[in-house]
Amino acid sequence: MKVTFPHMGYMYISLKGMLEYLGIEVVPPPPCSKRTLNLGVKHCPEFACLPLKLNVGNFIEAREIGADTIMMAGGCGPCRFGYYAYVENEILKDLQVHFNLVVLEPPEKHIGELLGRIKKITGNQPWVKVIKALRFGYLKARAVDQVEKSSFQKRPRELIRGATDRALKQAIHEIDSAQTPQELTTAEEKSREIMESISIDINRPVLKVALIGEIYTLLEPFANGNIERHLGNLGVEVDRSMMLSEWINDHLFMGLIRNAPSSKRFIKVASPYLNHFVGGHGQETIGAAVWYGQQGFDGALQILPFTCMPEIVAQSILPSVSGDTGLPVMTLIMDEHSGEAGMVTRLEAFVDLLQRRNEQKEALTS
């Protein structure tokens, strides 16, 4: 059995760590590329959301390098994600790309169903080991998040252009290579050193912009046109409303790990703008805009895939939030046609606006 799964940013490190800990052979798809996207676009319904198209591309490419089993999460609505795996599977079937499909989702009848599905992947390994593996995967996610957060701060302040990107790559590699929790501790230490070795100008003034919106486009750099890097290079420190480890803790561990930041902080402040969940993270997106406004951020960018339902609800409400809180918000809709160049132009215009607002504010207060 050679297990694969769709890409979503650095999630593969966590999943790979977890499965390999159990001695399962893993074949992650090649990183998302133009080719991945083209394959997906060619075979998927036009109005499917972007993640579905990239997933299908991932699977076709993973099959080419030998994967034979797909492991994927599911759900019970109301967002499309809950039906992704099945539609993807029908598409692959018609393409004669054969896989075993294992969907891990909340069971319809009893918990035994879910455990049964997990066993399909883990075989007869004791549950204790499975739980240890899960924990290992989570620790990897947290380590990656630390490195990423540090890159958000360093990039706009770096003295040598590109130094952060290079360090990030190295640091991530350290974490990815760790095979055991012990090794991971050492790797974390090393990755911290690597990130700290980036020379920066601490006093350089930077803008602070929050990235909010749909989880896939937030986490997958190919889907968001490398937005974090572009913003960093424009002198912007970003903060992403969703980090992988937080998401794992909120959604898979049901908040088991205390003291970790949780998206609940957003939901709390989403009303009166949006008084009900709308699937996906639509309510969190609204709440995040309010929250970052309160934290004194200079602006926020909402990122979503074209046709994303929860985010369209959020998008149509964000102008109200922006109007009331004074936090400038721009929406970026990603699909197969959104080129990186066009996006950079829009980012430049937005950053320019934020800068001017800042100068005005300073002129008024000094």
């Binding site: 998927c44 319904p45 036009e46 109005f47 499917a48 959301c49 599911g74 019970c76 609505g77 109301p78 967002c79 499309r80 809950g82 039906y83 099945y86 539609v87 599977n89 029908e90 598409i91 018609d94 319809e108 703008y273 949006l274 008084n275 009900h276 969940f277 709308v278 699937g279 996906g280 639509g282 074209f306 046709t307 994303c308 339902m309 929860p310 369209i312 609800v313 959020a314 998008q315 149509s316 409400i317 102008p319 109200s320 809709i333």
Partner: protein, 326 residues
């Protein structure tokens, strides 16, 4: 003076109008419905709704404004979260009252009480009481009114199952005479799509009447019983969790499986989330077997009538031609 409650002729109108009307009237309210869709209603919807929303949502924005023009006291926009156990409505329904409130200024009061029967059917009682209280009625009266509404609703469903379309059924419930069916049809076609798309003559470019005028008997998923629908969806690898899409998909697959129709026309709204998934499944299941003609129509505010007419005519020709050779 009775309180005037406005119901938009959009979204859930085609599912629940008789229920809402009876319920609200029993509570002593006067029910006002927005006008039939016109170019102007749609245009006003487009002005106030984000571009990325689907056509039905944009249109519903227009209907809400039309009601405001009529000077109603309350706009009835219950937040329909779920109408069946373990199922949901599309995310946009869940956010609709908030979208409206944040984008249209100076509206009358919006009644956005939740309807959430995801866990228990009996939770409908909570909804009935909340609406009743808002209109100033006690909980016994509200429950009774809702119960009468549900009774009307059952009658409505029965008429649909007998082959009537929503507009016909609504007028029969109003005591109008039932028109006899024209019988000189040679083809039967299933028109599959969300009720707020296919039954709104303006939005669907009158597709149902057009087909009828071309000598076609039209069936929709609403003419099937819940049992048949569920038999249809059994073919899917996993039960659909969207009630509306489950109905549509189950209908298509049932008509296909039983060979009850000569062809299937699937009508989807441009950029509709659930349709992008279910439309894909329906199409793949039907095309794999290759025994029934299938056509997909996408609707948006720019869809040209001429193009659709030509395509529908070609589709009918193809079916008649197929029939001639087999």
């Amino acid at each position: 003076m009775p309180v005037r409650v406005g119901i938009p002729r959009a979204l859930f109108y085609y599912y629940y109008f008789p229920l809402w009307k009876e319920f609200l009237e029993q509570l002593g309210a006067e029910v006002v419905v927005s006008d039939r869709t016109t170019k102007e209603i749609l245009t006003r919807g487009l002005e106030h709704c984000v571009d990325e929303a689907c056509l039905p949502i944009k249109l519903a924005f227009g209907h809400v404004q039309n009601l405001a023009d009529k000077g109603v006291d309350i706009i009835f926009l219950p937040r329909i979260v779920s109408v069946a156990k373990q199922e949901y409505i599309c995310p946009k329904f869940l956010g609709f009252p908030d979208m409206v409130r944040q984008n249209i200024k100076n509206l009358p009061m919006i009644m956005d009480t939740n309807i959430n029967l995801r866990k228990r059917k009996s939770d409908a009682g909570i909804f009935a009481r909340e609406v009743g209280t808002a209109i100033g009625k006690g909980s016994v009266k509200s429950r009774l009114a809702f119960w009468q509404g549900q009774y009307k609703h059952k009658g409505y469903l029965r008429l649909l199952e007998q082959g009537l379309l929503p507009d016909e059924a609504i007028s029969v419930l109003d005591g109008k005479e039932r028109k006899d069916k024209v019988s000189d049809t040679d083809l039967t076609v299933a028109v599959i799509g969300h009720p707020y798309n296919i039954y709104d003559p303006f939005i669907s470019m009158n597709i149902i009447n057009r087909l009828k005028n071309l000598g076609v008997q039209v069936l929709t998923a609403d003419n099937l019983t819940e049992q048949m629908i569920n038999q249809g969806v059994k073919q899917l690898p996993k039960k659909l969790f969207w009630t509306l899409s489950r109905r549509v998909t189950g209908g298509a697959l049932y008509y296909h499986e039983k060979g009850m129709v000569d062809g299937i026309i699937h009508v989807a709204a441009f950029a509709c989330g659930p349709d992008s998934m279910t439309g894909e499944l329906i199409e793949r299941f039907i095309r794999r077997e290759g025994k029934m003609p299938f056509m997909n129509i996408n609707l948006d505010e720019h869809t040209g009538e001429a193009g659709i007419v030509t395509r529908v005519e070609a589709f009918l020709d193809m079916m008649r031609w197929r029939r001639a050779i087999v």
